[in-house]
Symmetry: D2
Subunit: 340 residues, 4 copies
């Protein structure tokens, strides 16, 4: 069985793991205050042009943890998150945000995305102390259905957020793939101007674990390390994730891996479209959502793992196919052949 189920099936890139082996017995200071984490942060600061903002970076094990802690630190109990109904925090994090005590105000998504007028509408609907106070807008780049925000879209969203005194936070579990996608007009060095905080997903782009949370707006960074500790996210051996990111941002490995996984998925997409299958969403990243006849799906399931996303009609369903940094051309070709 080969898996197109997700982009975190393979443990991690060889360079990352062999760099870890090299520092097996090196002594580091604990809790992320080590020199290798500092190196990694500097590499990221440079590549994402974060220096001018004096942004802070925190390495965190996974995405749910990052979303949970950022919102925990940013919000008081009576403040709320605004998110699309398809947002990962709304659906697949077992109420992590609510377990902090915070409500999520949910907006029906438009192609997996939020638009300024919906944010305004929900903001102005919350008028007094009988309702929570919306305070932070959560979006994903790329979204759960693989769509991406273009530069103008993010600029408009952020402008609306600033007008309404809302924070804008970007879940970048698949930021690499989004930045590597065809037609994307956002560059790494633009990110700091487009939001108050974002995270760079490592887990879904070749690292055995870890996300790099970049906090631009100082208000979101207040006492942040206290929240890391309280929420159980301050790894004793912080150098572990630091080293992973140092390798990822050496010689642009991070972007090379993202280009690889995105190209792999888009190759599959092209083949499917040419054969006349339609896509559930317009996804330019490393996951695609073809609509297939159920009998083909059943046949594929004998040799492949993937998610059946949702039923379309009695004879068709959407499936999700995800390529990773480790997906080989050979496997893609075999899969394409298997469909027909």
């Amino acid at each position: 069985m080969y898996s197109f189920k997700d982009d975190y099936s393979e443990t991690g890139h060889e360079k990352i793991l062999s760099d870890l082996l090299k520092i097996s017995r090196t002594q580091f200071d604990g809790y992320g205050l080590d020199s290798i984490s500092e190196d990694a942060k500097n590499f990221i600061r440079q590549r994402f042009a974060l220096d001018k903002n004096d942004a802070d970076i925190h390495f965190i094990s996974g995405g749910t943890q990052t979303n949970k802690i950022l919102t925990h630190c940013a919000l008081s109990s009576i403040e709320a998150v605004i998110a699309a109904d398809t947002g990962h925090i709304c659906v697949h994090e077992t109420g992590a945000v609510e377990s902090n005590g915070n409500k999520i105000c949910v907006i029906p998504n438009k192609d997996g995305k939020l638009i300024p007028s919906d944010i305004e509408k929900i903001y102005y609907a919350h008028t007094d102390e009988h309702m929570v106070k919306p305070k932070l807008v959560y979006i994903s780049q790329a979204t759960e259905i693989g769509t991406v925000y273009k530069k103008q879209e993010l600029e408009n969203l952020y402008k609306t957020c600033k007008k309404l005194n809302l924070y804008l936070f970007i879940d970048g579990a698949r930021l690499g793939a989004a930045l590597a996608s065809n037609g994307m007009d956002i560059k790494p060095q633009d990110m700091a101007n487009l939001c108050d905080a974002f995270y760079i997903g490592g887990t879904k782009n070749g690292s055995p674990l870890g996300e790099a949370l970049c906090i631009i707006n100082k208000k979101l960074n207040e006492n942040f390390r206290y929240y890391l500790k309280q929420d159980g996210a301050l790894l004793a051996k912080g150098a572990l994730i630091g080293s992973c990111f140092k390798t990822l941002f050496t010689d642009d490995l991070f972007f090379d891996l993202a280009k690889h996984s995105t190209a792999a998925a888009q190759k599959m997409k092209k083949a499917l479209v040419e054969k006349g299958y339609r896509m559930y969403s317009d996804s330019p990243v490393n996951m695609i959502f073809p609509v297939l006849p159920n009998e083909i799906i059943a046949r594929l399931q004998k040799d492949y793992k993937f998610h059946v996303w949702e039923k379309v009609d009695d004879s068709h369903s959407v499936i999700r196919l995800v390529c990773s940094w480790a997906t080989s051309d050979e496997e893609i070709d075999k899969f394409i052949a298997a469909i027909f």
Copy 2:
């Protein structure tokens, strides 16, 4: 600068890291439901004789996270933990348990430990709905000051807990060192009979990350994976920690590393005692607490990192010296020489 500050300075044992490198591109199911984690659990179940209890095991990144999630799952909001004032959860976890909504009922420690009569006293003092309901007793093996519970002590504690319908949970961040300590009469296979849950510390015994939480009492395991996810601890690449523990429990590496670190610290202790220095606590594990003249401490600090634990009098302080799986004989000899 050489560090005796803690047992988590070095990244991880070579065998563990090279085993990770071997599975770089192997595909695994996500979230800890992979075959390598299953192997690791079976190795642990066998070595700790957990099979007869059908105990469940969960791999979690770190100790604070483990303590937080176990108590989160075990307790309702009106139930409380009983712990010694020196307990890690009371002092050095930034209110992680309280952030779940739970109170900790604190008992002054006796050599870092709890005794049955203190538990009874605090239990019976909580009489009605104006006070929380004590429900879980938290202890550490070894304790924060390196002391250990002998078998009879744990049996007595557990008997008291069962009588009062309290859970007994053992924080085993340094369980390896405790089991390896001179005079210890508890064997791995005894643990399941001595408590409702315990964890086997990996981070402080050679693993780059990870603790193995062993839940004997089924009540503590209800919906546990939901809590793992909600609290941000369910790593997408669960095979990462699984592999670390599989290696640790292959050929008894775990116990070999614990013996090494414990022997190293005890060698230092012996040398210090022979030179007439007294110890703050009777610690048989991989950390010791000598009382030294301040001028010697100041001199050592030029070449060594360690914690100054507390002031004794105007001219003496207690320091904490911790040895790890990676501490070499040579470094110990150099340090002993440096003292005198």
Copy 3:
């Protein structure tokens, strides 16, 4: 300015307040363990036929507090509430349920109500530990838009809940008005068979404060008084609310007041319908939602307080008119005259 804004504008019925004056200096046991609260509970048990179920009753100051504490006690952190998007807990309680740590799974309402198939759908969509566990269904009788559940509807809902192992909880802030409404086929003595818990609203039916929470299902009552205390709801002078309910359930005052307020609102409704105005919802209780031309609304606002509920089109809006136990015939006639 006369107010039709709500049913809690007037302080409380004279009988209730004069009964309080009579016990000014009588000594009672604290925290609701007094004889007068016991009397009140017995009166309610008898009138609602709760005896056979050995139901427990708790007097709580207000509705949000009741909803918060019931869900706090009923649910663990990973369990969730199912509610209609119009539910009071979703909209007008400032995230009280979420501040307990619990998510609300929201369903688009059907005339303010939930139906079994929607509950099934949301229940079965929550499949594993990446999502919360729905556990309690929250409905209101009457709903926020004045509609009511008939007996068969509640029976169907409760059957579905029991099948799926979900609790059914009825917010009865306006239970009196619902039971008094024309065509209602549910009797007080039916309530215990239709849900796991419900509350009888005092505040909106003549009491200066207080709701009577009736817990049928023993599981929801476990340690309940601990939650009352922890959440700040255990009044030292519990006899205060006890006395209010004792008076309300003496000589059926509670039902007389509910009939009065319902009849008052329905009289207004009849007059409006006869004049050709349509209603936003089919409400048989003490609040009605006429659709009126904006210029009439503007004129009425000079002499009357009421909520403008929502915009219908550029020239019409829905308003909410609420009658209370204290609304006089004279005021209704004056208002009807004022419309035309």
Copy 4:
């Protein structure tokens, strides 16, 4: 059985209850935004000289609720309360503060009180992100054992708090009795200069319910009404507590009642001391703690309710005797006679 168990046994003063009866059918705006609450606030502002500070006042049902909400609003999850081990929030509020997610750093009391050097010690012991951040000091005036802070003591505490950037909050459940106590050098108009927030206890001084929380420091008032609502404390009929306080602060009824209860208890104390009994604490307020032979206690228990506070030796115990605004001279004389 006559009760000296507490000062909240009797429902409420006749003037308060008859004033409520007078407004039975008067319409008020909801949620405390009514004219009668505004009147009450003005009376309090004037009597406590709060005007110059533009302090805000909130009426809340009870003491635990007030403590819970004030700390909920004041503190983020990683901030902590400092309190004496005897503090009501530590012992008798079922973990209400912890259920907000906040830790309480406990200090052994000195006669029920805190002193500046203890606050400094605990403050400076919290050094980094591995520990919570102490942020609010909680004290009671009078304390749980009836002792009181004199002006100089409060000035010193508040100076320390300001130096360390800590809030000082005074639980005034028995503030009336403290201000009425013999030798007290603090006047109502001093309170605003001695702390950041305090509450004036109504429940224990003649009101059927209600505490008046006075917030001097604006930072503690931010979004406060949102917390009132979220925590279930925003009574729909806010005029109810407003009216109670309006009556209490008309013609100084509040202070007259406090003088009465205090004088009653001190009369008992004088009689006991003259007979040679010693007091457990030096309490000048409406509750006293005599040490009595167990056989006398047993005899008294046949006719009187009171708390047995703690065992002194095998033949003696401390009891707590509390007088209220309603305790008559006759009852005191009878009790004194009963002792001998």
